[in-house]
Amino acid sequence: MSLTVTDLRVHYRTLRGEVKALDGVSFTVADGEIMGLAGESGSGKSTLGKSLIRLDGRMRHVGGTVELDGVELPVGDSAAMDRFRFSEVSVIPQYSMSALNPTRKIGKMVAELLASRGERLDPAELERRLELVGLSRDVLGRYPIELSGGMKQRVVMVVSTLLNPSLLIADEVTSALDVSSQKAVARTLLGLRDTGLVTSMIVVTHDISLVYQIADTIMVMYAGRLAEKAPADVIVTEPRHPYTRLLISSLPEVGVRQADKRLSGIPGSPPSLLDPPEGCRFRDRCPLAFDRCAEQPPFTEVAPGHSVACWKAA
């Protein structure tokens, strides 16, 4: 079992109180699994990703454990996490593409980054990796501004995986790209797993159709908790959680026209995580809500590899 997260709780400290961004999350990611992580913005996807790597100053590890390849990660202790970061768990943060230092040539930046990790750069290996993602070695002599969005994103992917991490977390890496670059970047992620450079992956996205293309499983979050996790095909064709169902049915597919089939969104908005309501957090938007939903539904397995947090799905 590659990654096991158990009852993880991470809050943000704010002036108005604690934001319960991750409120009791348990799941596993198997060796070789690419798990898509989907949900509306604000549902806690990035918080989950960051929790497995580095809590920023305002994040607090309130409870729960994370185990990677049988070793418990000290997620609450940033210094102790140093040993694992980048080599065991690596992240491509949201917006990292725009965060590349504009005054550094790509090659210099990569060398500096490795040096800061106490690793030496093997130029031949670096070139091999660039080639693998479809970039020529020339990019090393260029500045970030000279590269297209898709090229920058692939540079970041190469850099984040240089030490062959066991787990890679890719946070919204395709969101700012055009369809053709999205496809190239998504395929590159697939290639990293298929060549064994990365063992498992969590691909965070708000675009289910995109992650469906490459993911083995998809996990859907809602308001700081898990709603559903299942094989990708099952999420798309037979979702059980009412939220997943509404989410899937609100997606316009190529060929669907408003004149023929009017789709609808999900009325309402997610609750504040500062003071979330008791019970099922989807309750006030859920068309199936009934008395029992005042009590929190457990995230339970309803079929092999398929877990749902909903009283109606069990």
């Binding site: 369809v179 053709s180 999205q182 708000h206 509404l246 609100s250 669907v256 609808s264």
Partner: protein, 308 residues
């Protein structure tokens, strides 16, 4: 209603503006009342530049843009033009000042266009405009931007544009920052506005969104029209290799991307290898009624004119 005729835009770039960049070249198309025209292309293809020229935010370098037959660059009163034509852009958050309540965007329209109107009448107007974009006035008025969702903020901007009985809306990537759950509401709204007779130029890089709402589609590639026509024809029978590549890249829900890439090899050029008697309009061939397609481009067609 809106007509672009041979419109080009040349930017001066580089040190001291020494280099020319052709962002848009010889683009011609119309937007009629009650019609959604989607403008599709990858980033850098010139979509926003076209939208900005229509909104008179930047002048065209060549060609003309006319609104009801009048050259927009000759309309002296900007205000008169903006009463009829408004734009909404990608990032709703950047249009609001976090220090002020979100509904200040309406107050600004009042100051500019309706300084005389009484409070009660104005309030009614704001409320009916919000109603038109399916927002509950009680839920959004008096709130700060951070208390509202991106979808709500975006719909408020559309409501603001509707305060001025506009006839043409330029919507530039207004959906891309929104979550799937609210995206579709904004798209449906565009469809409803069309039904009320508004003309909409819907700029997007997402083909499935363009396909869902638009009547006609213009595919832009490197500033030029690659293909345009009725949306069902462009999507149902794409003729330009670029349109096909875009379509093949769109992630779909029930089908995964095809495994092998289509074999490169020489395929017939939809323009130069057109059937005899195909009508030609400038550098577009009318392959089917109202369905136009350009040359496949250098690399794909030996007859392609190399372009700067």
């Amino acid at each position: 209603m809106l007509r672009l005729d041979g419109v080009s835009k040349i930017y001066r770039v580089g040190a001291f503006g020494g280099r020319e960049l052709r962002a848009v070249s010889g683009v011609s198309f119309d937007v009629n009342p009650g019609e959604v025209v989607s403008l599709i292309g990858e980033s850098g293809s010139g979509k926003s530049t076209l939208g900005r020229m229509v909104l008179r935010l930047t002048p065209a370098s060549e060609g003309t843009i006319t609104f009801d037959g009048t050259d927009v660059s000759a309309i002296r009163s900007r205000k008169a033009y903006y009463r009829q034509v408004q734009g909404v852009f990608q990032d709703p958050f950047s249009c609001y000042n976090p220090v002020f309540k979100a509904d200040r965007v309406f107050a600004m329209i009042k100051q500019e266009y309706f300084p005389e109107m009484g409070r009660a009448e104005w309030r009614d107007r704001v409320e009916s405009s919000l109603d038109g974009v399916r927002l509950d006035p009680g839920q959004v008025l008096g709130k700060y931007p951070h208390q509202l969702s991106g979808g709500q903020l975006q719909r408020m901007l559309i409501a603001r544009a509707l305060m001025l009985d506009i006839r043409l809306l330029v919507a530039d990537e207004i959906i891309s920052m929104l979550d799937a759950s609210t995206r579709i509401d904004v798209l449906n709204l565009l469809g409803d506005l069309r039904a009320r007779g508004l003309g909409i130029l819907f700029v997007t890089h997402d083909l499935s969104l363009g396909n869902y709402v638009s009547d006609r589609t213009v595919v832009l590639r490197r500033g030029r029209i690659a293909e345009m026509g009725p949306t069902d024809r462009v999507f149902g029978n794409p003729l330009h290799p670029y349109t096909r590549t875009l379509l093949d890249s769109v992630p779909r829900l029930h089908t995964k991307w095809a495994d092998e890439e289509p074999a490169a090899g020489q395929t017939p050029c939809p323009f130069h290898d057109r059937a005899p008697d195909t009508p030609v309009r400038s550098d577009l061939a009318e392959a089917e009624k109202e369905h136009y397609v350009a040359c496949a481009g250098s690399g794909a067609c030996p007859a392609a004119k190399e372009t700067a």
